[in-house]
Symmetry: C2
Subunit: 219 residues, 2 copies
């Protein structure tokens, strides 16, 4: 026996009364999807080891977040179990080298990469990086990206979101559902975007630019 | 302003009273996860074309659903954009050949495979199948598997599930969330199992044998 229908009907009545009292309309945050393939960010020292002293990253194309770009430069990741070639470098340079792969990639390479937010590299996996001019043995820095939302301070304030909080995101379609633990990243000039990797996208049947929504239980 | 806390507190009180009145306890269905890699099922005619007249599928290992097995035999899928080698045949033979790939595979091969339940092959994609003794040009039969739940008639009755209905499944963990549209497949001798593909598993951070639960909103 399922009491949901009665309970939900009552809940809606309660919600309507509470909303009427407060005189507000709930807003629904619509977010475009951005899908990341495996890639890496390089420190100046590692970039020069891989591509030669005095080399610079050259822009192949801009990515959606302002200032960042996909570089012409690619590397090969060399793991205990296998290699992945043609892994693209994302610019600009960073203070620390960071390699972002999928869970499937981690099996191909034979490395245990934790699911982590960018920059949270404690106890992350090591990997060897092969470039045209040299190789880097990264002792750590290999992660599977934690799904996250890029948003500007203005939009964050409008939707009562703050940097570091986790929200739920709902996707429609035959593989639709709800993603929990989507980390909010508030930054100046951020373009509103849900960043997920290719496996998350395919698992939910999502394509670049698809619109997903913030989900709040019974609201 | 978010009214969820008040509404949900009230909902729980309502649920408790209704449950108390009916004198029931809600049961929560716990389901082991089974992850499928790309594979195919063959008709007798196609099997003989690929492996030779009079050939038979030989058992490499049993799979969880009774009577089915992974065969020693593998094929190469040949698409307009690329090949995938070592794709395993699942036995026993079926009346119709069916090829089950991931969305990532569909890009490698260059075929548009719809997300479909097993056997629902109308307007599914064609593919060329290469075997050691011949090749089959399948005009259709290539699909991305629709996530589904295998359950016996007894367990289905116990949990008020019927063949063909769709339920929601909740997964825990950093990539946790809710999968909607999980199709229920009731069959004699079925072993309780949620069948998802590798991309769905990695998208939700799930491993073979992990336990997930049926999810019912506000219940």
């Amino acid at each position: 026996m399922n009491h949901c229908p009665q309970a939900l009907t009552l809940t809606r009545q309660i919600m309507q009364e509470l909303s009427a009292t407060a005189g507000i309309q709930p807003t629904r945050l619509a977010i475009p999807v951005g899908i990341s393939n495996h890639h890496l960010h390089l420190s100046l020292a590692d970039m020069e080891t891989l591509f030669g002293y005095g080399a610079t990253l050259t822009r192949m194309k801009a990515v959606k977040q302002p200032g960042q770009f996909a570089a012409d430069q690619t590397v090969t990741l060399h793991g205990p179990k296998g290699d992945i070639a043609g892994v693209r470098v994302l610019g600009p340079l960073r203070t620390t080298t960071q390699i972002e792969i999928s869970i499937a990639d981690s099996f191909v390479l034979g490395v245990k990469a934790p699911v982590r937010m960018s920059g949270e590299l404690q106890e992350s996996a090591g990997i060897e990086i092969l470039g045209p001019r040299g190789r880097v043995q990264a002792k750590r820095g290999t992660i599977v990206a934690w799904r996250h939302l890029h948003i500007s301070p203005q939009q964050a304030a409008q939707h009562k979101l703050s940097d570091g909080m986790e929200i739920d995101i709902e996707a429609a379609g035959p593989r639709g559902g709800i993603m929990r633990h989507v980390r909010v990243r508030v930054s100046e000039d951020a373009v509103l975007e849900l960043h997920i990797d290719r496996e998350e996208a395919n698992g939910f049947g999502l394509h670049n630019g698809d619109i997903v929504h913030r989900w709040q239980q019974a609201c």
